[in-house]
Subunit: 754 residues, 2 copies
């Protein structure tokens, strides 16, 4: 098949740079000073026997981070970031991840390398076999497995454009077989550029046969973790490949299929045998060393290179004899792996040729890739000190490889703990959704972002799917309940009939009718508000009653925000937000209007700036608190109290900048969950039940939290919220955080999330 | 207690004209020619043993229509209208309601008056007893029971303003007792103005003692349906009242409490004995004759008069001896009832005095009532021919009383059948909600409008409440399902993974990214649309593919409607709306874009006007179909086909005025439920299930409805709707109506609504 005209066909153009990627990345857990830990797999993580993201490799200390299948490089890195963040903050805070392929100093006694304590006994047995067959020390090396799948549409279009194959499955498999053979032949190129294991650590070889260090990649050389010499497999055809592996297993040369540690694995079904009936779906590149300069062990550039490389390997011709071709690659790769990292490579000319050809390929196929990537590759080719192995070796000479690893590891550790409320990779989503995703990833619940803008997630445990929007909208509430809460008149009618005290009041659709009713409200404390309030806009409060003029002005103000206005009795007391999940109050929050406390020196404006400096304060619900604004509303509130932005408040004097206490307008959140007796919590739960709600926020006015809720008129229900903020409870300004996101997960998966 | 300063206190002012009202109205079922029917209680109506709105009185032919308790006169009349509409359209279409208190011609044999066939045997026994004790003929008279309750706040304020009573319950009871005594004394005034039974029909008296007709009110005279002479009860105090009634029952003078047929009943608990512990809550005026000139038997004016009258009776002094005072009233009322309807009343001066006092009372209490009502009363006082009895008698002289009754009855009958899709009283609400309310009232499901603007209903059967918005949003769907459907990207992802064919496509947030993807859509049929579409705005369809320029223009158009744009493959075929309820497809509709069919004579504009004349076409979802507009969109579509509004299409030529087929833009609805095989219905149900939906509208493209749905590519899912219109299925332009509203009720109350 003449593949080059096919790949340059314009119909293929939109699909060449599309692909699916997935990464599995191993890392040793170490202390912050770089010693291998002796602790178990972190308890906070969900069941590792089914964990989609966080597994254990050979040893109990060896974390394996697994991304889902992703459709773009940025998406891949979002997931790497999120899973790393979750792993870091689920481990003992004194532990971090070792950023290198070669392990830290290993224990003196081989038995002190603890095999992963997995539940499934077969898994343990397999590791015991490996320990015996290869030795525990060899198993402690870490790397990246890179899963790559061409865009399906691309392969289909290619199939349509050729006439040699009648069978699509066979065509697809042969595409991947060609790439595999070529990869095995040319992979020395990745070893040269990205090999990153120049030096071994203490007791890795422990007296066994070892190379003369430094090299480019111990892990990719004959001294790496490889199958025994007698394991040989052909890549001539899929049938022969399958047969060879099966024979190795039958002859006992491999304990099972998965012991076949080639640099590339062909992946289709669950077992190799499935490839007899199903096409190859993707390939797994297993020879990638951890890049210690990257927080997630690999750079976007390296992934982009691998993608172009895959396309190039499909495009470029291969040797006539498959086995020879692969065997040549094997030799070349070992040669390059064992070169000194600072030496010019023996394959310099060949590498040069390949880079030129690759550039040509990119041009001919109109690939929208930057030339910088090739510039960088050429730079590394001409100056070995700029390759990964070169850089690591040079820096290890200045300090030690351990120091380099600890320095890099610590910087990634610190990054993960810097804003512990965020989830790296998804910081553009609302904070509640980030926290929920963190908890889901931690607890082995599969997460998919169905719509980022819309904060729409799909969660999966086994085959049980749940859809969640904004972190709090789920299948556990009914359609009608939020519609009830959205309509304040309906909510009040229902609560009143259920026997709860709600502010008495009336609804008006125009100013005239409202004016006629003034007499009813004369001499009463009242609140005038739009029927559908939003963040406190258009609300006027008259604690002591309003004059007719004031009343009508307040009606006007409210009518600017909505078609209908509510005039309600004012209930005196303090407002608390009760967060109900199921039949329990999980958190109670006092919200204090945006404020600053004077020090006798700074102006209000300066005090606001100081308070806003807190990293917990941000904008648009991406941080636990919002920055205090200095807009019209705030300045009006100040003016009414006789202040300007330039006023200097007395020491310890508290100045309020808003009338409303919403956290979204810069208010402070103070956790009060522990301060309330059960009777108020029961009231909140019953209110939720009267509205049919499972997850909701009840705003309750309480006269005095020390009075029993049974007495009449000690509380009143102001509002019920169907999209209550969660992050302000999780990370309050003062008091204990309440992990409501975990409560939501427990509600959705009561048997799974503990 | 000096009550007059209390009632004029300004604090009472807002409450005097507030009250709660309820009406029970009896009517005989007759044929359209005015003969008493021989048919049973209408089968379409729900179980009458628990029916909140539609009961049977003494006879099987005697409907009793019961309004809920209402808080205003307009609300009272809305319910009267709605219940009448429901009763009319639930009866045999050959039957109507007799609009007079005096029954139509009665059967020759008394036994042919059929006692109501109630399920509860005690109810039947009671009616048998009445038949024996009073005769069946007497029981056939009909009237209105008017339940009246002062505003509770008014009574509380009055209590606060006095210092004679310490006990609120006693105070409240005495308020009602005073009104009752005064009503019994002065009720002759209502008999004079509103008495409406001047003549008896054939065989009502049937040889028994009878008055000399015409009179003002047979029903209110000694010849009406009254307790036997030996039944006497005092109204001096509540204790004595209760004791008297109990004694009558003990002595056998009354078979049970409810046989006590006073013109006023004091109502508190379930039985009279409850009044010993509970205050009187309201009073029931039982002496109101049916006004044949009013579709619901009583005018708003009469209700308003009764309200003012109640206040006046509370205000005005009473006689020193309670029993004498009531007895005088008894005599006076009989006297007035038996006067000739055209004669000046013997109590002319006293009536004049009372009207003057009432006007004075209204002035002193600042009551916002029109003086017209008093003008009209004075007119009736001075000219007896203008009283109800006078008018009926005069008109009966010209024709016959029967002819008058049939004429009035038929006009109400016709009104009820004029727009059978509407529910009188609630025509300002969306049609789907009107239809659902009709079905609920019919099937004995209690309905409350919680918010009219918002189409928010509360339904109740026994203690089981359900809340419904827009007729189709219920507790049977979950919160997340409509959120999924609202987001087309999320919907498509879920459906695609569940194995359904959905249009392939991509989402873009800006023009530039969309432009870059043009290559992917080149040469393909595509649809470009805003991510959240509304009534087809911003959609462009390219059935044969678009040029790059057209494509970018379409992106622009869609971006005007939303922040994000979907470009999707165009699926050829016809779009059908499948309405799913639970696990069944209840209706399938073909929607045809707004169109007219030429006759070779009229212009397009004229044809549109003709089509819009159909009463089924209206605006804003208040009719089954919408009027065709002649706006920019329609004119553009015409222009593209080479037409103007003035063009005259050929005979039988169909001209389309819209690209989209929405009924809301004037499209035609054609029921196709019967035309589809089960396999397509199964697909729609499975789509709903994949989205977790119970009630939804699935838009499916079908290539050919005769091809089995199993074949690939014969259908595609375009959209799922979480607020699907129901009324277009209930009353389609062509084909059979599907009562989806009844399906909703069955879903909510599976054991009750059959």
């Amino acid at each position: 098949m003449n593949i080059q005209p096919i790949l340059t066909n314009k119909h293929l153009y939109p699909y060449l740079l599309k692909a699916r990627y997935g990464i599995e990345k191993e890392s040793q857990r170490v202390t912050k000073s770089g010693e291998l830990v002796t602790t178990d797999y972190p308890k906070k993580l969900g069941n590792r026997s089914v964990h989609p993201y966080i597994q254990t490799d050979f040893a109990e200390t060896q974390m394996e981070l697994v991304t889902p299948i992703t459709n773009s490089v940025p998406e891949l890195f979002r997931w790497l970031a999120a899973i790393h963040d979750t792993v870091y903050r689920s481990m003992n805070p004194q532990e971090m991840l070792w950023p290198m392929s070669m392990p830290p100093a290993l224990p003196k006694a081989e038995e002190d390398i603890v095999i992963a304590k997995l539940d499934n006994f077969e898994d343990v047995l397999y590791r015991r076999y490996l320990a015996k067959s290869y030795g525990r020390r060899k198993q402690m090396v870490s790397g990246i497995h890179f899963n790559f799948e061409f865009d399906d549409e691309m392969v289909r279009k290619m199939f349509e454009l050729q006439d040699e194959y009648m069978n699509y499955y066979q065509f697809k498999t042969d595409i991947y077989l060609k790439v595999t053979r070529n990869y095995l032949h040319y992979r020395w190129l990745t070893t040269y550029f990205f090999g990153a294991s120049p030096l071994s650590g203490p007791r890795y070889f422990n007296g066994h046969e070892h190379p003369e260090e430094p090299v480019r990649s111990i892990r990719n050389s004959q001294y790496g973790y490889k199958n025994h010499e007698d394991v040989k497999v052909t890549y001539r055809s899929i049938e022969e490949y399958v047969a060879d592996i099966q024979q190795m297993v039958e002859e006992g040369k491999l304990s099972e299929e998965k012991e076949f540690y080639a640099s590339v694995r062909l992946r289709g079904g669950k077992s190799v045998a499935d490839l007899a009936n199903k096409p190859v779906r993707y390939i797994e590149l297993r020879n990638i060393d951890l890049d210690p300069y990257q927080p997630y062990g690999i750079s976007e550039e390296e992934v982009e290179f691998l993608h172009i490389f895959m396309l190039f390997l499909l495009w470029t011709d291969e040797g006539a004899d498959a086995d020879d071709w692969v065997e040549q690659g094997e030799q070349l790769n070992n040669l390059i792996a064992l070169e000194s990292p600072l030496a010019q490579t023996a394959c310099y000319d060949e590498a040069q040729r390949l880079l030129v050809e690759m550039r040509g390929f990119v041009e001919q196929t109109n690939l929208a890739v930057s030339t910088e990537i090739f510039d960088h590759l050429e730079e590394m080719l001409n100056d070995p000190a700029k390759t990964l192995a070169g850089r690591i070796y040079l820096e290890s000479q200045k300090k030690s490889q351990k120091e380099l690893a600890v320095q890099q590891g610590l910087s990634y550790y610190e990054k993960a703990w810097q804003a512990p409320y965020q989830l790296a990779g998804f910081t553009n989503m609302e904070l509640s959704t980030q926290i929920l995703m963190f908890d889901a990833i931690q607890k082995a619940v599969q997460v998919e972002v169905l719509d980022e803008q819309d904060q729409f997630l799909k969660l999966t445990v086994q085959k049980h799917n749940e859809y969640v929007k904004n972190g709090n909208m789920t299948s556990k509430d009914t359609y009608i309940t939020p519609l009830i809460m959205e309509n304040k008149t309906v909510t009040k009618k229902i609560l009143q009939r259920a026997g709860f005290r709600v502010p008495q009041g009336k609804e008006f659709a125009d100013k005239k009718t409202a004016s006629l009713s003034y007499e009813e409200f004369r001499d009463k404390g009242i609140v005038v508000k739009p029927k559908s309030t939003n963040y406190g806009l258009g609300i006027t409060v008259f604690k002591e009653g309003a004059s007719e003029e004031e009343y009508i002005q307040a009606i006007d103000t409210a009518l600017k925000e909505d078609d209908a206005v509510l005039v309600e009795e004012f209930l005196p007391g303090t407002e608390y937000r009760f967060f109900v999940v199921g039949d329990q109050v999980k958190a109670i929050l006092l919200r204090v209007p945006a404020n600053v406390t004077g020090d006798g020196k700074h102006t209000i404006k300066e005090l606001v700036d100081q308070k806003n400096d807190d990293p917990l304060r941000g904008e648009n619900h991406r941080t636990p608190l919002e920055k205090i604004q200095l807009g019209q509303s705030e300045q009006l509130v100040l003016r009414e109290q006789g202040y300007k932005l330039e006023s200097v408040p007395n020491k310890d004097e508290t100045i309020y900048l808003r009338d409303n206490s919403n956290v979204s307008t810069g208010g402070d959140s103070i956790d009060m969950t522990g301060a309330f007796t059960d009777d108020y919590k029961k009231v909140a739960v019953k209110v939720a039940q009267a509205l049919g709600a499972t997850i909701c926020g009840i705003d309750m006015i309480v006269t005095d939290i020390n009075l029993p809720a049974k007495a009449s008129n000690v509380y009143g229900i102001i509002e019920a919220n169907f999209n209550p903020m969660m992050h302000m409870h999780c990370y309050p300004y003062e008091g204990k955080g309440r992990r409501l996101t975990m409560d939501i997960l427990k509600l959705l998966y009561p048997d799974f999330v503990k």
